[in-house]
Amino acid sequence: MKVREGQWDRGYLLILLLLACCSIVSIYAAQETAQYVENFAAKQAFWYVFGIAISILLLLLDFQQIRRLSLYFYLFGNAVLLMLVLLPDVSFAPIRNGAQSWLIVPGFGSIQPSEFMKLILIVFLSVVASRHLEKYQESSLKESWLLVGKLLLTSGIPILLVLMQPDLGTALVMIGITFVMMLVAGVHWKIISGMLAMGVLFVGSFVFTYFQFPAFFHAHLLKEYQLGRIYAWLDPYGYRNGEGYNLVSSLIAVGSGEFSGKGLQQGDVYIAEAHSDFIFPIFAEQFGFIGSSVLITLFFLLIYKITSTALKVIEPFESFLCAGVIALFSIHIFENIGMTIGVVPITGIPLPFISYGGSALITNLLAAALIYNIRLRMGDYIFKPDH
């Protein structure tokens, strides 16, 4: 491993360190609301240490090895997801909150395979896309269609398996990642815009049917109870005793933080799931608009760093990895923070690096390490063409 001056990016590591601090502080504040008996902050610290240890291992691998291994990881990951789908409700694969997403490993705790699958998918999609581009030099419409087909097939399998758990949130994240892959892999603009148009049309027709043919809509598309989250999102106060409760308390927490926040440990709004999916309101309540802006800026800087890495590397594979990780982080950040302030409906998606949760944190750390690996190895490639 060659390490050169300049590649040892202290800024990147500092961002991650600051996020870790935010995480521990917020989780500690959340668990002080007396709804928990466990010490989640300490556990999260442990997961950080554990995740960093694994990440260092990842740094030892070069990208040839990573490309080679990716297929096996992809197959293994899908096999585990398939197992979860096929297994009945057993003690080591229990149904929690209506979904069978967890695997209990004795002596270790519970693991959420779909979290890891997101990263595996990013790597494998990057492999598929870069192979394709190596094979077909021209990016004509026909080849673009072929690439789209390959990528859809690759991501389609885990997406279906995740949907069967059922875990719509994770599936949407995977769809987002796939779309970003297509974008960066150079799929023809016509197809990209066509896809966007189709997406808009799809949602539009849904809304249209709902208002114009409500009977048909309820009978064949979505049941009333499935719409609860949408209703609660559009009118949280109207549904504050039901589906809107989480959003209302979240809005009150965030909003009452006002410009400069109430101060460390000074939050006083009760929020359910405050340590995991609803960690952001806890943070925003304590540190106000200034604090939350700083947090979002930290995330933004992280993504900026990854983008600049992608722009510096020569190998498309590495660019695609960067794009995939950007998609992974951005979608999570936007959806998670967005749902707590009513920008998007509520889904069970954690905030990267901040929310409590071992599987997600390790996945995010590995993703960050992957990018760091690219930065560390940039020197190799810079000199490569000269050899």
Binding site: G255, G257, E258, F289, I296, F300, I314
Partner: protein, 670 residues
Amino acid sequence: MKKKKKKKNHVPLRMNVLFLGVFLLFSVLIFRLGFVQIVDGEEYHRAVSSTENVTAKLDAPRGKIYDDTNQIAVDNKPIYSITYTRNQKTTPEEIDALAKKLSLYISKSTKSLTDRDKKDYFIYLHKKEMEKRVSASERKKLSDKAYNQRLIDSVTKKDLASLTKKQLKVLAIKSEMMRGYALSPQRVKMGATQEEIAVVSEHLNELPGVDVKPDAQRTYPFKGTFKELFGQVKSIPENALSYYQSHGNDRTDLIGTSFIEAQYESLLRGKKSTMHYVTNKSGKPVGNPDETDGTRGNDISLTVNLKLQKQVENIIEKRLKQVKSGGTAYANRDLTEAYVVMMNPKTGAILSMAGKQYNKDTGNYKNAPYGAVYNSFAMGSAVKGATVLTGLQSGAITPSTHFYDAPLVFGDGRKMKSFHSLGNIGPVQALEASSNVYMWNIAMKLAGYDYPHKRYIDKHVEQAFRTLRNSYSQFGLGVSTGVDLPSEATGYNTGMSDQLAQAMFFAIGQFDTYTPLQMAQYVSTIANNGYRMQPHFLKEVREPSVKDGKLGKLLYKFEPNVLNRLEMPQRYIDVVQQGFRQVMIGSKGTAAGIFRNKTYNPAGKTGTAEVDKKSGLDNKTLVSYAPYNNPEVAISVVVPKIREGQTNSEIASDVLDTYFKMKQKGELDQ
């Protein structure tokens, strides 16, 4: 190099597009955050600090009730109650299951269950079987309500008998749990035993809504004596709920529901200690609660002397037993009750109000003092004092008017006479020997009837009724006495008649009916030289005593209240007072046989009202006061439906003897 360039060409552009997209999304977040935290921030902040006020209340005990001599008559005992609070969504099935569980831990009397309760429960338990009892075709014709009634009707005695003791206990517990409203604790059992408290507390986690709470229960150191008139302390009746809530009560409060407890509810009610919490939106208390200490309700003392009361109760029972046994047992088979009211004629203070009612089935005599306020009787000649005064006041007679007491014979051949024919008598002798004829002459005069000529000079029989009733009401007869109880009977107004004979019966107390209390007020008014006093039980109101056995600070003392004065000169009243004295000592005095030698110098009037002339059934009454020249005690005795015996006079004699004996011993606070 060329190939690579081509590949590289699109990546930076696309990466930049992606980065732009991320930038836009993050901008949306920041923008929205700015909106939520800065623009609306203040409003959300207010929502958090917008507090809700929660007041927790702890019951304070009611005030104690003392008797005339400051003996504790009604006390509080700290107890524990098992309560149940249901919420709006609790189903009857859940309550049933809970009642079953609870029935394993506590005992519960099933006495108060009605047949209707049991029928409903039987139907609840045997839903399917019951549905079969009504055919489908019949079911169709019935409304839900009628169907329900049909089901209830179809429950047989045998069905009810099939309910096990256990089931009945569950039902008894369940009906307590169902009572009241969602979210307000309901007492399932008052006065739980130590074992029950322990076992219920241990199982609270499997008994949602069930709780063990400190409570207080009334105790009566004098046991049954006067107990009924203290009244009951119970849950607020449904129909009175809004009244009590507007007076600061909570739904679960126990309140005085009858007699003195109800009359003086506002005095006796404790002031609850309150803990006023301020909570934020999430229900978290902010700061320390604002506490106000509760205080026990004020203590009150009554004019009643419970030792005397106890003796009066015993006297009534003893005398009733006496004439209902031996040779007169059969004659007095219809005799079931007797009442005594004893009051201070000058102040209206009620010293004793007692009644006994005989239960034919059990052979027991139970205390029924309320009968003295609620039951009214034809009082007979005891009211003649009022008739004489009516005659004097209206000018029908003068103190010197004499009538010849001999049987009256009317044009239609009807004969009316006194018990004995008395010859030529004035008003004093008429009262002494209880002349009917004298009273009838007054009535005839009032009605404009000229007896010697057996014709009307100016017929106005109804006017005679009005004159008599108006005059009687000055004594409290036929009107409210003003006693300090939530309600009282005012007797039965038999109405108007143009029959002279009816007006004549009115004049001898055989037309309208009056309560024993009204009679006591009537005789007191005569004893008190025409001043009608408000009868009252309340003597004093005191702050709750801090130390046991020590009275609290005096807050209020009941001052005697004159309701009205008879509108006539004292000399008229003197006539009746003389007559009443003669009843007790005169040679023809109707009560002289018993009272002639009493050292306390009583005055009074006996009465016998014929209830059923054929079988000789009478109401025997007596009103009296003593000493005649400076009255300090007045009594009214009513013994309804008696055939043989002077029980009215015997009771009166015993009661007055007891009073003066106790007075001599210094056992009365007068």
